[in-house]
């Protein structure tokens, strides 16, 4: 029952922090040595996380809370604390594992970059922040780490800063997620003043909201839940704040795998899970979560159909899958959401690393310029294929199990519409993955000769992480099957085996297979013309290609609105505010000029002015006494 290793959990983020400090202090001179240091640090973190997780699995240990006083003022007393639970230990393992693999992979992928140590420093800082986010025992610390992972994401998206697109994408990522952060911040402020004793730690939140004691009124609870959800929406790229995530693909691909697929974007889901008691206390909030999640899932999947950039397709896929997780939470199944988060982390990271491998080889991201890569890059093709199957939900790959869990939860939670949406999304998912896979790896090379010549398998340091992930993508689904709900029990502590629903199994498998088949027909066999839809409904394909014009809308409304307001206020500031200042100065000077006018050199004018003044003075002051 003791938690021997849990109390050292703070060391898990401490390793990458140390790596970050060393790399920052020593600067660029480290070069590849920096990469080694960072990788060792992440290895250490992974090992420790693994030990903690094993300890917890084996002994079913108690939650461990530790920390130090951090901020003391007046009513506020916030500690920098960490909490080790089954949930967090699971997340620790996922994060450190993916981080470790990405560290390794980047060794090859970033080999030629002069700023490789900067890259590793950023990654180390990100890993540390992400681990801090996972470990945080209260919302304030979580929020801090939440922002820190955001800024690391921002830094890494803009890693190739000389590209204007990277600059724009980084800025967009930061600002759009900040909209969500704002919601979270306000939620924290609300919680602070409504919680008894101004407690912000998760244990107290659990106590207050889980017992349904009504300490916090219903409307406030809903408000808090929704505001927290706004934060999650921003971070996890849910509609309507999803716009940053596809653009974030401007960053190096390992980063897309680590941050924008496996870990950070899942933080939104993690946040909701962490504060799930608040959501559960408000059915309205739950509905909103479910609907937003479902809508995002199908919405992003449809956009993914029409994209041509390999990473963007994967990005929209990520958005869509995160929508699944939200959907799961909205229908009340934490375990399903966490399960999907868990599996998704592996197969999506795998897909991104595979995409990175392809990009590394042929230096293009446009799937229309690829083709036939399967023959030249066997490992990449195989692992990518596994990832694609997992994502598409083909049994027995992990994605199938987790997706099945979600659909089951939706159906059991009496949300048939959400279930249908989920199934349709599964179909779209399989379709765009089939399109992606077949266009890239099957057929003949469509790119130019130079690209074709470059196309060869990546070095082992890149393929090994892919192989590891591929293995995980295959097996990780078995921790929770309809037959043995091991993960859910471990996480929530209650046995809630949902059993196998035939309808769900059939529907999801059918949808996935149908999608794959259609893709095969269109892009391999050629029986279906790929442009069958776009030629008949050009507006629809255009709408999808342009991502429903959301970016343009935001650009017009928010960016344009702000710019317009800024210009208007600038004019106001100059003309009215400063104008008033100038007017004051001018009127004093005008008085002075009046005086200069009086002084024309004529003594009699002076006298006249004086006598006039005297008359006025006498009349005004003495005269009033006489009438």
């Amino acid at each position: 029952m003791s938690s021997v290793f849990s109390q050292y959990a703070w060391l898990v983020p401490a390793f990458p922090v140390a790596a970050f400090a060393i790399l920052t202090a020593l600067g660029r001179s480290l070069s590849r040595a920096g990469a080694v240091i960072a990788t060792i640090a992440s290895l250490a973190s992974f090992i420790l996380s693994l030990i903690i997780a094993i300890e917890r699995i084996g002994q079913n240990a108690e939650d461990y809370v530790g920390g130090i006083d951090w901020l003391r003022t007046g009513a506020v007393n916030i500690s920098a604390g960490y909490e080790v639970t089954n949930l967090t230990s699971l997340m620790l393992v996922v994060v450190t594992l993916v981080a470790l693999l990405v560290n390794l992979y980047s060794f090859g992928y970033m080999a030629g970059d002069g700023r490789i140590s900067v890259f590793y420093a950023y990654v180390a800082l990100f890993t540390a922040s992400m681990l801090g986010l996972v470990l945080a025992d209260n919302l304030a610390i979580l929020y801090i780490c939440w922002e820190l992972v955001g800024v690391c994401s921002f830094l890494l998206i803009g890693f190739w800063y000389q590209k204007p697109e990277a600059r724009a994408a980084a800025k967009k990522a930061f600002i759009v997620t900040r909209v969500g952060d704002l919601g979270l911040l306000i939620a924290i402020l609300l919680l602070f003043w409504y919680m008894p004793g101004h407690a912000l730690d998760f244990a107290s939140i659990h106590n207050v909201f889980d017992t349904q004691s009504g300490i916090v009124s219903m409307s406030i609870t809903t408000l808090i839940a929704l505001l927290i959800f706004v934060g999650a929406v921003g971070k996890s790229g849910q509609f309507p704040l999803h716009v940053w995530l596809p653009d974030a693909m401007e960053g190096p691909t390992p980063i897309s795998a680590l941050i924008h697929a496996a870990t950070m974007v899942a933080a939104g889901v993690f946040l909701v899970v962490r504060t799930f008691d608040i959501f559960e206390a408000s059915s309205a909030a739950m509905t909103v979560v479910a609907v937003i999640g479902a809508f995002t899932a199908i919405f992003a999947a449809t956009i993914g159909l029409a994209q041509n950039d390999i990473k963007r397709i994967l990005a929209y896929s990520t958005v869509s899958q995160l929508g699944y997780m939200m959907l799961a939470l909205g229908v009340g199944s934490v375990s399903a959401a966490m399960f999907h988060l868990f599996t998704h982390a592996f197969f999506k990271a795998l897909l991104f690393l595979g995409a990175g491998s392809v990009i590394h080889a042929i230096h293009t991201q446009d799937i229309r310029e690829m083709g036939g890569l399967g023959r030249r890059m066997k490992v990449t093709a195989w692992t990518f294929g596994i990832g694609a199957l997992a994502l598409s939900g083909i049994p027995p790959f992990s994605g199938f199990w987790s997706k099945e869990a979600i659909l089951t939860a939706a159906l059991e939670g009496d949300h048939p519409w959400l279930f249908i949406v989920g199934v349709v999304t599964a179909f779209f998912t399989a379709l765009y993955m089939a399109r992606l896979f077949f266009l890239a790896f099957a057929g003949k090379p469509r790119g130019n000769a130079e690209q074709a010549a470059h196309a060869k398998e990546s070095p082992a340091v890149m393929t090994i992480p892919m192989i590891v992930l591929a293995a995980l993508a295959v097996v990780s689904g078995f921790v929770q099957t309809p037959f043995k709900d091991w993960l859910g029990e471990w996480l929530t502590g209650e046995a809630s085996s949902h059993g196998a629903s035939g309808l769900v199994l059939v529907a999801s498998i059918a949808a996935s297979l149908l999608g794959l088949y259609l893709g095969w027909l269109a892009f391999v066999r050629g029986t279906l013309r790929p442009d069958a839809v776009s030629s008949r409904l050009p507006w629809l394909s255009r709408l999808l290609e342009r991502k429903y014009y959301i970016d343009e809308l935001y650009q017009l409304v928010f960016a344009g609105g702000l710019r317009g307001l800024g210009r208007a206020l600038a004019v106001f500031d100059e003309a009215v505010v400063d104008g008033a200042v100038r007017l004051t100065g001018y009127s004093v000077r005008a008085l002075g000029r009046l005086n200069t006018k009086l002084q024309n050199g004529q003594i009699q004018t002076y006298g006249l002015a004086a006598i006039l003044a005297a008359v006025i003075l006498v009349l005004a002051i003495a005269g009033r006494r006489f009438w």
């Binding site: 007046g74 800024g566 008033a580 200042v581």
Partner: protein, 535 residues
């Protein structure tokens, strides 16, 4: 540590001594002048840190207080009417003190002034005059934060005005004279308004009576402690024969006058236009001081006098302050988004950040007050750092216009990195100091005015917009050809950058360093707000 050493006086007057020393050095010995200027600045900073080390929050800094009578002039020694008062005197005492509110700001002054002195080594034009004025300015700034007599406060306040006028007017950029004039007249107006309020307070709150054989001797003084004592015990004050009491109307007048006076300094919309010019035209080390410390004198004055001496007014006008704060935040932020000159972006961002201070003050609780001071300190460090970089960049490129710069991360990676860090700190990134001040202020105000706070937080979002827009435009993207040959910052430049960044990070990571200091600083005010006003 400082037993029997008048450490506060030393902190204040050593820079003045330095100023004289610099004046007496031969004009050609540039090295000696720089050396003297920097070392006198550092001595005060070291003393300030020593003070910090030996400061005990619980004791409230009482052991450091210094008091000496300076002058006491007879107002009337002849009995004219039949009262028991035999004589009236007006006393101006030399009175210094430090407490949880001034301690952080003294530290800030030490740090920023020292770093600005290092940044001043590039100034070669009339070096002697420069450093002598620079040191004189420090005397004024330390004095403002340490004075415990309103007249001395005013004197020190004005003492910052004159050196600043010269520093802007002689060493500034093209429009320096206009900026200097604007600065002088606008701030002069502020201090005039402040003086009127102080005189009202002296005449109504600042009296102490001594019973002598002949009768009662009534002494008016600017002593802050006397005022606080009279305020805390209105009944005893009412017994003072002859003195007239602070009526409601007068209290309001004094409060509004103080609000305007410190609002100009802070600045509060619509009194902000002067500081734009100063930001744009003054030499960077001077803007470091200006934006880093001088604006904080407004914060300090507002808390020290408007809040502590007139709690009832603060209480009933907290909503007004909050609205002003929100206006400041949004107005500054929106305008910062529309600027093309980086210095003006920073100027408007200062307006926005000072709005957060107002929110903290309007919260009327300890969290908010401490947030306000924290925000002041943090903004001081961050804007000093930003202007340090501005100076470094301007020296190399001759411009700080956003559209003329780009890709600096390639040309000067270190400077660009620090700039990015400072920008992130400015937009309130957790882990850096800016966040704590914002968080505490918002947290404090949220207890009373939820909707306003929520609107105010939009400023945090806009901060990200304008900061990233400008910083990324300067550092990221392709490097223009004409900037290809830029040289990285020299050691003497990087040192203050690193130090300021270190403090920003330190305060962001471990805020208790500062909040513990302020722990009992607001006790008196909170008591007043609870008992005096609530009842």
């Amino acid at each position: 540590m400082f037993a029997n050493v008048p450490v506060l006086s030393l902190i204040i007057w050593l820079p003045l001594l330095g100023s004289l020393v610099v004046l007496l050095l031969p004009g050609r010995s540039g090295g000696a002048i720089r050396w003297a200027g920097i070392s006198f600045t550092f001595v005060s900073m070291v003393l300030a840190f020593g003070l910090y080390a030996s400061y005990l929050p619980l004791a409230g800094g009482g052991e450091f207080a210094e008091h000496g009578s300076w002058l006491s002039v007879p107002l009337n020694t002849e009995v004219m009417q039949d009262t028991s008062v035999t004589s009236y005197r007006l006393a101006f005492d030399y009175s210094l003190g430090v407490d949880g509110i001034s301690m952080p700001l003294v530290l800030l002054t030490g740090i920023v002034a020292s770093m600005a002195s290092l940044a001043s080594v590039h100034i070669f034009k009339r070096q002697k005059t420069y450093f002598s004025l620079f040191l004189l300015l420090q005397t004024g700034m330390y004095g403002v934060f340490l004075a415990r007599d309103v007249i001395w406060f005013f004197i020190f306040f004005e003492l910052t005005l004159i050196p600043m006028f010269f520093l802007i007017g002689i060493w500034g950029y093209y429009g320096r004279e206009k900026a200097a004039n604007r600065f002088l007249v606008y701030n002069g107006l502020g201090s005039a308004v402040m003086l009127l309020a102080f005189l009202i307070l002296i005449a109504t709150l600042g009296f102490a009576s001594v019973q002598t054989d002949g009768g009662i001797e009534l002494t008016f003084s600017g002593s802050y402690d006397t005022m606080l004592a009279n305020l805390a015990d209105p009944n005893a004050a009412a017994h003072q024969a002859g003195a007239w009491l602070l009526s409601d109307n007068l209290q309001w007048a004094a409060f509004i006058l103080l609000l305007v006076a410190f609002g100009i300094k802070l600045p509060i919309f619509p009194f902000h236009t002067w500081m734009l010019k100063v930001h744009a035209e003054a030499p960077p080390p001077v803007v470091m001081i200006h934006s880093g410390i001088l604006l904080k004198m407004g914060v300090y004055g507002l808390i020290r006098f408007a809040a502590f001496l007139l709690p009832a007014q603060l209480h009933s006008w907290s909503a007004v302050l909050a609205v002003l704060g929100v206006i400041n935040i949004l107005y500054g932020a929106v305008l910062a988004c529309a600027q093309k000159e980086f210095k003006l972006v920073l100027a408007y961002s200062s307006i926005s950040h000072m709005g957060i201070v107002l929110l903290g003050i309007a919260s009327l609780n300890e969290t908010g007050f401490e947030g306000a001071v924290y925000q002041a300190v943090s903004h001081g460090l961050i804007s000093a750092l930003l202007f340090l970089i501005v100076g470094s960049l301007h020296e190399r490129t001759g411009t700080t216009r956003i559209d003329e710069l780009g890709g600096l991360a390639r040309a000067v990676p270190f400077t660009a990195g620090i700039l990015l860090t400072a920008g992130l700190a400015s937009l309130g990134l957790p882990g850096l100091s800016g966040f704590i001040g914002e968080f505490l202020s918002f947290l404090g105000l949220f207890s009373t005015m939820k909707a306003l706070t929520a609107i105010g937080t939009i400023g945090v979002l806009l901060a990200a917009v304008y900061m990233l827009r400008s910083v990324l435009a300067m550092t990221y993207g392709p490097l223009p050809e004409k900037l290809a040959g830029l040289k990285e910052a020299r050691f003497i430049e990087t040192l203050p950058m690193v130090v300021l960044t270190a403090f920003i990070v330190l305060l962001g990571i471990y805020p208790s360093l500062l909040t513990d200091l302020m722990q009992h600083g607001f006790d008196g005010l909170l008591r007043e707000l609870q008992t005096g006003v609530g009842g």
